[in-house]
Symmetry: C2
Subunit: 356 residues, 2 copies
């Protein structure tokens, strides 16, 4: 993609802003969206911001059949001085291209694409909610658009960005969630698409989520696809455990998503001189630590929920309660630190913040 001029077509009809107390997650969308088209003869072309409107696609468009799609998720915050802040957006652009690569989608110029996203967020800054826990969720995504039933990569794609003012992802907020350890369904196996943010990984997980709900649990803890022995991730979050004063999290191995919040949590913990071990974690070792009394905390991390403490693990019919089903100190401290940096309430010693 050579440097191109961003076309901006503004809407003449602004939507009413939703009630900030009833935002939910990804239910309301702002007045504009960003699009960039791709054709195999031209590369990525015609970046443009246009009024938010439906997409028109041939019923044979490959996205409906063979789903070469990837997406990202990040958030914009408004600080007390009305500055708009993004949290490590370069990391999302990098991961977008890693996902593209896995799905045989042409990569985007990260800097240029990010500059267009910033332009869109600037235009929609009045949509950024300011109350605690609320933000403007940014959803970049790519779809394959060629009208052909041939099982092959598409010749045409569209990259889009839509924006949604959001509240907390989980109704529990920072309260602990109870988790069903999934030992039948598989999220990802080595050589698969586990590390990519692609549609197929999400819809494939719904059966497991149904099973968790049947067991009165709100989320799934995924085990590895090969032996169903090692911990991978929680729902759509990375997972951390505090055992005997030290922090453990599954290593990046190709099957789990490389979360931006995960990375930030590791860097924060190390800056606090807390040892963090990125390693293969056997479920049996967690059970043993629980029995020893050394499994002190567990929590998930992700852009949507930030930090989500885990109060209960339900594994093979036994319920393991962690930290008396209360939010632990580390979870609280991490939540406070990350949301503090994201919203500008706290200093950012890491250079994670982009102020627009």
């Amino acid at each position: 993609m050579t440097s191109q001029t961003l076309e901006v077509i503004k809407t003449t009809t602004h939507k009413p802003k939703p009630d900030p107390e009833a935002l939910g997650f990804g239910k309301y969308f702002t007045d504009h969206m960003l699009l960039i088209d791709y054709h195999s003869d031209k590369g990525w072309y015609h970046p443009r911001i246009v009024p938010y409107e439906p997409l028109t696609l041939d019923p044979a468009a490959m996205v409906f059949h063979y789903g070469q799609t990837v997406f990202e998720g990040l958030k914009a915050y408004k600080d007390h001085d009305e500055n708009v802040r993004l949290f490590r957006p370069e990391e999302n652009m990098k991961r977008l291209n890693r996902s593209n690569e896995r799905l045989s989608i042409p990569t985007l110029d990260e800097k240029e694409t990010l500059s267009y996203i910033k332009e869109l967020v600037r235009l929609e800054k009045d949509w950024i909610p300011t109350a605690a826990g609320k933000s403007l969720y940014i959803r970049p995504f790519v779809i394959n658009t060629e009208a052909s039933l041939s099982v092959a990569p598409s010749k045409t794609y569209t990259f889009l960005v839509i924006l949604s003012p959001v509240g907390s992802y989980y109704s529990e907020g920072i309260d602990p969630v109870s988790i069903f350890v999934e030992d039948f369904y598989t999220r990802a196996a080595p050589g698969g698409t586990g590390y990519a943010k692609t549609a197929g990984n999400y819809s494939a997980a719904y059966k497991a989520q149904e099973r968790a709900v049947e067991h009165q649990r709100s989320q799934v803890l995924w085990l590895d696809g090969l032996e169903k022995k090692y911990v991978e991730e929680v729902g759509s979050m990375n997972v951390f455990f505090k055992i005997d004063g030290e922090i453990h999290t599954p290593e990046i191995n190709g099957t789990i998503l490389e979360g931006v919040t995960r990375k930030s949590v590791i860097e924060l913990l190390r800056s606090w001189d807390l040892p963090v071990h990125e390693r293969r974690i056997a479920m049996d070792d967690l059970i043993q630590a629980h029995q020893n009394g050394t499994l002190e905390e567990a929590f998930g991390t992700g852009t949507a929920a930030v930090i989500s403490p885990i109060g209960i693990l339900d594994y093979k019919g036994t319920e393991y309660t962690i930290n008396n089903n209360k939010t632990g100190d580390i979870s609280n401290r991490l939540h406070n630190a990350i949301t503090g940096i994201q919203t500008g309430r706290l200093e950012d010693p890491f250079g994670w913040t982009t102020v627009l």
Copy 2:
């Protein structure tokens, strides 16, 4: 779905029919399509045949993000008496619902849905090509349409059927293809979506297909996701081997697709008193059979290609030529029998044919 009246809105502008010699696969579409909507409050409703036209979807429609999609593929043929024939369409309807079930999509009434598909094919019967190897490909599919970024099953879906006059799927036709045995990428693991016809399985395979092409091979032979030792399927076909006079094919195990052509091939072979073993097949055993001179034939089976002989296996850098890279007797006999029954050229002793 209670029995509902099919609405039919006919087009006033008929497209020109494509050159039968340049059909390709899934490039041209007929004048009409079938749609049925779903809402969680109403179930499946409003079956209708309408002019083929673009779909209009919110950019937040879940299909673009979390891809709860399934599809089917079957073919309509015209016989010498101008009768329209379908090949075992009930099997496709059953598999559609197995896929729906895996993707947490509400199932469809199989009989009623098939009756609508038949109605669509009847309406478009002038689009069915009659030359050898050509047919009208029928593509039923389901997409999730709710505009929400919440990672959860959609409340709304649309079931569609589009029709495409097609030629042979592979340019090789019934000539042998050369196959790269994929030992890095994974198509499916136990507990995953391998047995479902869902978008994610297809786009995830493109990287492996790229790798096959880099090795000058036209297709991939998938190995199992756990140990990369056992044969699963070829590209998007099931796979069969003739070893020492008997036929072997991977057993249905949750990771491979349960092909309608696979099932028909097994039933045909058994009707010819040829032993068929559905079992786990180690790649090493195939290599040994090749070295013994007992690996006599190999072929893929699928709706698109029917029978596709395998002339060469490229495994860990060694090329194994099968049957002198010629189409084998069993492949020829099966191809002749199945296409004969499909097109009405041969008697159908199995009751596989639906004449419209």
